[in-house]
Structure formats: C-alpha cells, structure tokens
C-alpha cells in the first residue's frame, strides 16, 4: 500500500463530514447551484470535491464503481482505507466515480425500481469547469430557471424522461460540485 493512501482523509471526521454534507445537500436541493466543499485530498486524478463526497457518503455498505480513468491502484487504496467501501462493477454500484465523457450513457447504471426508485446510482462525474451559463435547468429546487455549462444535454434529458427512475448526477471540478438530480429538466440554451 502506498504511504500517501493513508493521507488526505478528514482531520476531524464528524465536523468535516457535517460541513461537507451540508454543501452536498444544498447542491442536491438546488440543482445547478455550484457549491464548494473541502476537507479531503484524494490521489490524482480524482477531484477533491469527489474525494470529499466519497469521505462523506461512502462506507462498507455502499458499493463503489470506478470508471477506467479513476480505476487506479492509488485511488482504490485511498477509497478502501478511508471509506471501507467495496469496489465493484460500475453497473451495480451505488456511487460511481469517473470522467463525464466515460459516463455519458446513464442507462448502464442502476436506475432504481418503480417501487424503490431510491435504489439508483449516484454518478460523480468530473468535468473541466463549472459555471452558471449555457444549458437551462428547470424543476424542483430551482426558482424559474438556472443556467449551467453542461457538457452534453442529451443524457440528462433522457434521464429526466425516466422520472421517478434514473440516476442522480454530481458533477465535480476541483473543489466545486453541482448536482443534477433526475427531477431536473434540461433545455438547450
């Protein structure tokens, strides 16, 4: 095990995770709102926001999937040491980490069932940058509309059409994250 896989966790787990969760929750409650989170430093190429989300939400009861760009020994060891989450095939996982371009087909991930739509995957997708311009988001959590530079609108539109099934997407860039849950309707600018 590489020595640096032991570093980069929360210094004060209870308080760090509480503060990080509040950021993630407000992001999920207000889709398209860019929220900074901090406290954890995962190995590259994982963004720090993705690492903080893993430290806050993943544990031995949540199977995690890694797309090829994240499926590296350093990241596997870091996740295993800090969260204890089992790493399995992305198609079966509860949380999936990767780059957005690797995950553009949302339908290969867990979609939930009509009786239990909550049993669906949360995708943590790395993008180059996040800014409030471009595609128009509407839906719960958004007063009228909000703009976001989505890399591609098609998978989000297909995902929203499956509502209440579908995946929830958290996009990360550096220390920022933004959530697009399945309830968000996306239109081209």
């Amino acid at each position: 095990m590489a020595e640096n896989s032991l570093a980069g966790g929360f210094a004060a787990p209870a308080v760090n995770s509480a503060v990080a969760f509040r950021g993630i929750m407000m992001a999920m409650a207000e889709p398209g709102r860019i929220m900074p989170v901090s406290g954890g430093i995962p190995p590259r190429p994982m963004d720090s926001a993705a690492g903080v989300l893993a430290l806050t939400l993943c544990d031995p009861t949540t199977p995690v999937g890694l797309m090829p760009s994240m499926d590296q020994p350093a990241i596997r060891e870091w996740l295993t040491f800090h969260t204890g989450a089992p790493i399995i095939a992305p198609g079966e996982a509860e949380f999936v980490f990767g780059r957005f371009d690797e995950m553009a087909d949302f339908t290969v991930f867990r979609q939930g069932t009509s009786e239990y739509p909550d049993r669906s995957a949360t995708l943590v997708a790395a993008v180059a940058s996040l800014e409030n311009s471009g595609a128009v988001l509407r839906g719960p959590g958004i007063k009228e509309s909000r703009a976001l530079n989505l890399p591609d609108v098609t998978p989000f539109q297909a995902n929203a059409a499956l509502y209440p099934l579908g995946v929830d997407v958290v996009m990360v860039a550096g220390g920022d994250l933004v959530a697009i849950p399945r309830s968000t309707r996306v239109e081209v600018e």
């Binding site: 929750m25 739509p117 007063k143 309830s183």
Partner: protein, 296 residues
Amino acid sequence: MTDPSDTSLGDTPPEGTHDQDYNFAYLDEQTKRMIRRALLKGLAIPGYQVPFASREMPMPYGWGTGGVQVTSACLVPDDCIKVIDQGADDTTNAVSIRKFFERTAGVRTTEKTGEASLIQTRHRIPETPLEEGQILVYQVPIPEPLRFLEPRETETRKMHALEEYGLMHVKLYEDISSHGHISTAYAYPVSVEERYVMDPSPIPKFDNPKMHQCPAVQLFGAGREQRIYALPPYTDVVSLDFEDHPFTRLRNDGVCGLCGADDTYLDEVIMDDEGTRMFVCSDTDYCATRIEEAAE
C-alpha cells in the same frame, strides 16, 4: 468517567462546544452517512418516501425521533436551531429537543424564526415566511398518506409506483358526501410535482399553502416508521381537491387575544370552569414579536 453523583447531567456545555462524551450531534458517523444518503435520494425524488434504518433515540417514539435523526445528520457547528411543538417554543418536547442539541452539538439556539438556520417542527409551519437557505425539519408520525385506506405496505408501495391515487380522492369525496365539505383538517394530502401524493405530517391544512414554492428546504423524518422524504425549495406542492370543492384553508374564526392577529392559526384556550374561552396564536414567536412591536 462520569461521576455518578454528578447531577449536572443535561447542563449545557460552554458555548461553541459540545459534550465530549458524545459524537458531534449525538449519532455515530455510520448512522449519519446512512441518513445523509437517504436525504439526498429524498431530495432527488421529491415526495417519495425513502426507507432508512432508523435508530433508537434517547426519547420515546412520538417525541420526534425521526426529526431528531434528520436534524442530527444535517447539523453543522455554525447552525442556529429553533424547535417548535404545535407552534410553541416553550413546550416540553421543544425544550428537551433544543437542550439535546445544545448539549450534543453545541449549536446556538433561538426562538426567532428569522434567526434560525434550521427549524425542527412538530405539526406547524411558522407564520413568519421562511427564507432561502433555511431548513425546516418535520417530525412525522405516519408518513404514508394511504395508510388508513390500505394497511399493507406492499400495496401502498405499488400504488405509489403506479401513481394509483384514486382511493385518496374517494376518501375526500366521502368527506363531502357525509359532511358537505372536505372535513380533513390536518395531515391533508398533497401532490408533489404532479407525481407523488405525500402526507405533509399532521400540520393543520391552514399551513398547506406555505409548502408550495417554499424557498426553504423541507425535510421529513418518521422514526418509528423508518421513512425520510423531502421537498427541495421552490417545489410545486398542491393540496388535493375537486373543481367544485376547491381546497380551503381552515382557521378558528377569531382574533388572537394577546396580539390581535386576525390572520394566524389560532389555538382555543379554556380559561375557567364557566367555559370562558380565548383564542391565541399557535405560533408563540410570531405572537410575542407582534406584542413587542406594538409596545414600541
């Protein structure tokens, strides 16, 4: 070790710190992660009841074990919390929950709706309009709006999956046929984003319109029934009704005997053995603020 003769248990630790015998906000981290994951799915599917592994809390079921677990999972050290029970800040339930979080999380507390970042409530929505960034946590006894119409969980789950809510309309229709109007006065069912029918918890139907397009985050925790559900800000929440019997708010016809408000939800208080009654605002903070303002 705690000295067993120490009777100061329950004393509030110095401001800004919490009782170090407990993890921050009482619950262990594994439990909080489980609740947090349920909250996120709840926010992603507004009105849908997410099952969660509710824990035993140091208070009886019916005292807000669900709300306390949700609050515990959401709290951050900078929070300022307000707890109300039927609108009142000074009832046993509200005081003990406020004290619980003062001790286990070291957070500031308030009775002012406008100052609170998180409000835990039992059966009321404050009269003062909520703002963006605030969180309202409801204590929920029975989260399933269809439960009294269909006792089997397997069936109600199918009904939600199939969006089969005819039974609820039949229930409201039966109200009209026996009473001439929809007599359901509290826990009045709502439709969320035209998809899930949701129990708003036993708030009076007077409060129902406040949920619609509310700027605050609304979270619901049912401890005994092990369900969490949520409404993000600016969500469509519509009370079920009929074209010829539209939804109406209900309040006692009177004015508050203390502050004179004629537009708030009123409690009826019996004053003596002769049947003298008076109406007072159920929201104690709103009422006290109005009295203060009038005195100035």
